[in-house]
Symmetry: C2
Subunit: 542 residues, 2 copies
């Protein structure tokens, strides 16, 4: 069987290699526009920051080494320009000679990936305007940084890639500003999580300007200033990390089903609507394993999974790809952030009867050195009691908590099923009540009515208006708040009526919950705990 | 309702506190033999090693602070000596005055924990013979270490506690030897994993003598020598970490169902066979969530879960505790080790049609600093395709991989359901094909027949006899082995018959798998890959 694979980074090479392992008698041909194949796109920001020192470390395989290893034929610098589905031929152009070529196929696999979106404003062609997609991009930015010519940089776009680049510039002493036209940075998180991260980054010296649109870049030879809908920003470099667009223009008239964003809709076997054509990687649109809706998952991890599925299906093996769940994790200065499944907002939009709880926990035994505070937001559906999503912020263990949630999402687990699990505990690794178990317990308490609370989002929306803040921390810190010592509450509180509206706040939420529990017993009916306590809401409570 | 809780460490305090949160009108009374309550037993080894500096850090609550926080009455230094089930009274003795007391109950909760087993040999009462169960134990050992009088220590028992103490002594320059009467240290792991850890510890300066039974301790005032069934060992200190025994002698004649090891059998609601008596923590025997069999889970994490369940049930709330799965994790010098579910041996004993695969993977993107090799052994049942257990060794991320497996075990997931999950990936956290996904793929390849392999255990059992070792690493290292360059195999191998018995070995197993795949295509029918490669089996291949 002749299989032509268009594109040679993660998804293309994975499909090709796996296909030849399934049956080495296949003729598998990769054609790709670029010079490199199989590079580590996710590592690029770390090359910029000298965390990864050598360019070669980013290249997983050269075309030759890949061919030697797998038996796949690789033709680089050759761009597919159309697919003739009737003749079953991929039409391509040699980027060097301009020559047209035809690649007949029995099966074709589209793995053309995506490219950075370049906004149509003036100045984006100036020197020191960068994107972050290929090894060349990273090499160019690092050379500029190493030359000492960059003191201030503006990152346009506060998604994972933009923030990873931000971290790797700040670590080299560059002043970094992030601008984003959305209300917040970190798409895919709920707004209270986004705000927490914005505040945190500001403390680390990275300012985020949101609702801020790039309107142009100014400079004589090189970047000097970034123009926005708000004020202009002085800068020696601009990194465009606004988002990516699938490279699917060449099949726009092919009759293959495209999504509104240009990605190619595929089945559970990664097939397009043409059973002889597959799509994998950043140009494909898979299924959301939580909702069953289409989901674009342009991640290196998804690319590998999808390539394996496509290759197995082409080889006649059984497959049934359940889809992705939108998992993402990102290292920021002194904070790791991760998310999976539906956000609270996305869950509401889909009509779920949403309940969420944000829990502040220790990531390790409190007495173990390096223990830090972690915030876990779980989102569930009251009706089915199913877990729908999770968002996690912390200095450690974010990946662990996230991966537990991911496994739960794939198992369509209810929060009850995820409670009381015998997760790994020893003081250097977690807490006797595991952070995930703890977060599930808080959510269950809330669903049962044992915990009456405002989420940080509800608090910001003004739901606590008319409530008096009661500080119940061991070391009270909220200026102007009443203080109640939990341990001294053994009856009605002098000066407080049973129907008093009290917002109970402590450091992480636990003492406030204990106080609420006592107050309820003594007849108080209008208390609310502020989820996440001062640890999460500190900035809003002063 | 009057609830008497016997025992006040993790399970007892958790039950008591939760019960009063459920309904503060309950009268909840803890009686406990010791002076402290609520201490961090799992942290003790780290106090010895000065990782935790202050004794107070080990004490979660004093009796007074616990009472203030929860409303629970606490009576220390009072030992329960019997339960009169007919009268519903706990009989106790004041340890100071010797006075007998009676505590009537509506519900009683037994949370008496366990104590270290002291072997009946001579010399165990000598100075510098320690156990590691209470803060006093840790304080005593640390004082001895800090005084400079200990140069050599012998740990008796190679379980988690013994090895944690070993790490914390070695870090202070003490020469540590571990002896264990079993064939290997690390109970609960399969033998090839145990051997790997023994070799690793030896490289870190901790010698393990197995099949070695403590026969006595010699010394004039203080420990000088440890006698065993093999040779005597010079030592200034002995730490007895042989195991623990439940403190259940006082109910031996109560008619409560005890297991042969003395633990109390409980239901899914933590009830004993007397519906008014519960048992929680190290003295209780719960259910194995994988097999449904009885399982003793004497861990701080289980204690907390069980306490919560018991309290809810006493309070009339719905509960259904699925049980534990035997998860454990331990930090050793430069290696983390963890396990959950059934071992391969335990699964075979129970009649499962066992398939297992040991996979060596990177724990992070190979180009990211600090990336290390991790070994994941997965155990599954061919018939139902269910995951049964996992064992993980590595320098990082052991907890994450373990917790994914735990979540899968609770979901009764098949290996197919655990494949292709969208787990958290970015270069600082994992690999594009997540370590767990990778291990599942290897297991699936093996179940499908695409990978023909010997496990390290099969190799050690001699199953590879008659096979010629073929080194297929990029940098061959196995002395005396044939070398085959995978990339040059494009047909029949000169000098090798199609039925040649070839054991394919590379560093981690991946290139060997690729070579096998090619050789199968060219007609070779008798090749086997050695799982784990030289990275795992190095010591056996030289």
């Amino acid at each position: 069987m002749k299989v032509v694979i268009i594109g040679g980074v993660a998804a293309g090479t994975k499909t090709a290699a796996k296909l030849l392992r399934e049956d080495r008698s296949h003729q598998v041909q990769i054609i790709t526009k670029s010079k490199d194949i199989s590079y580590a796109g996710c590592g690029l920001p770390y090359y910029v920051g000298h965390v990864i020192e050598h360019r070669e470390q980013l290249i997983v395989n050269t075309p030759q080494s890949f061919t030697d290893l797998t038996g796949v034929s690789v033709t680089t610098q050759t761009e597919a320009v159309a697919i003739d589905r009737e003749k079953k031929v991929v039409m391509a152009v040699d980027a060097v000679t301009g020559e047209r070529k035809e690649y007949p196929y029995d099966k074709a696999v589209i793995a053309v990936g995506a490219r950075p979106f370049i906004p149509p404003v003036e100045g984006v062609a100036l020197k020191n305007v960068f994107t972050m997609r290929t090894p060349e991009d990273a090499v160019a930015l690092r050379e500029a940084v190493d030359s000492g010519s960059i003191k201030r940089a503006v990152i346009v776009g506060g998604g994972f890639i933009g923030l990873e680049v931000a971290e790797n510039l700040v670590s080299q002493g560059i002043r970094v500003t992030v601008i984003d036209m959305a209300e917040h940075i970190l798409p895919g998180f709920d707004s209270e999580m986004q705000e927490y991260v914005e505040n945190h980054l500001a403390e680390q010296g990275i300012m985020s300007f949101t609702n801020t649109k790039l309107e142009g870049v100014e400079g004589t030879e090189s970047v000097e200033k970034v123009l926005t809908n708000r004020r202009p920003i002085k800068a020696d470099a601009v990194i465009l990390a606004i988002g990516i667009r699938p490279n699917t223009e060449f099949i726009r008239d092919s009759g293959l089903d495209l999504m509104p964003n240009g990605t190619i809709r595929v089945s559970q076997s990664m097939q397009t609507n043409d059973p002889d054509i597959y799509a994998v990687g950043d140009c494909a649109c898979v299924t959301d394993a939580v909702t069953g809706e289409p989901l674009w998952s342009p991640m290196g991890s998804s690319a590998n999974i999808e390539g394996r599925i496509a290759a197995r299906h082409i080889a006649g093996k059984p497959v049934a790809y359940g889809g992705a769940v939108g998992t993402g994790i990102c290292k920021l200065p002194n904070l790791h952030v991760g998310r999976t499944g539906l956000t609270e907002v996305a869950a509401r939009e889909r009509g779920y009867d949403v309940v969420s709880a944000l829990t502040a926990v220790n990531d390790k035994a409190h007495y173990y050195p390096g223990a830090g505070t972690m915030f876990i937001k779980l989102i569930a559906d009251r009706a089915t009691r199913r877990l729908l999503g999770a968002q996690v912020l912390g200095t450690d263990k974010v990946d662990t908590v996230l991966d537990i949630a991911v496994t739960g999402l794939y198992g369509h687990a209810t929060v009850d099923q995820l409670a009381d699990m015998d997760l790994a505990y020893a003081p250097p690794f977690s807490t006797a009540i595991h952070p995930f178990d703890h977060a599930i317990n808080v959510l269950l308490n809330k669903m049962e009515g044992a915990l009456q609370s405002f989420t940080p989002a509800e608090y910001r929306e003004g739901n606590a208006e008319g409530y008096e803040i009661v500080d119940t921390s061991q070391n009270p810190s909220i200026e102007g708040a009443e203080y109640v010592d939990l341990t001294e509450v053994n009856g009605v509180l002098p000066g407080w009526n049973p129907d008093a509206k009290m917002l109970l706040v402590c450091t992480k939420g636990r003492r406030a919950y204990l106080l609420q529990n006592r107050l309820q017993f003594y007849g108080y009916t209008n208390t609310k705990v502020l989820e996440g306590g001062t640890a999460f809401n500190g900035a809003d409570l002063q």
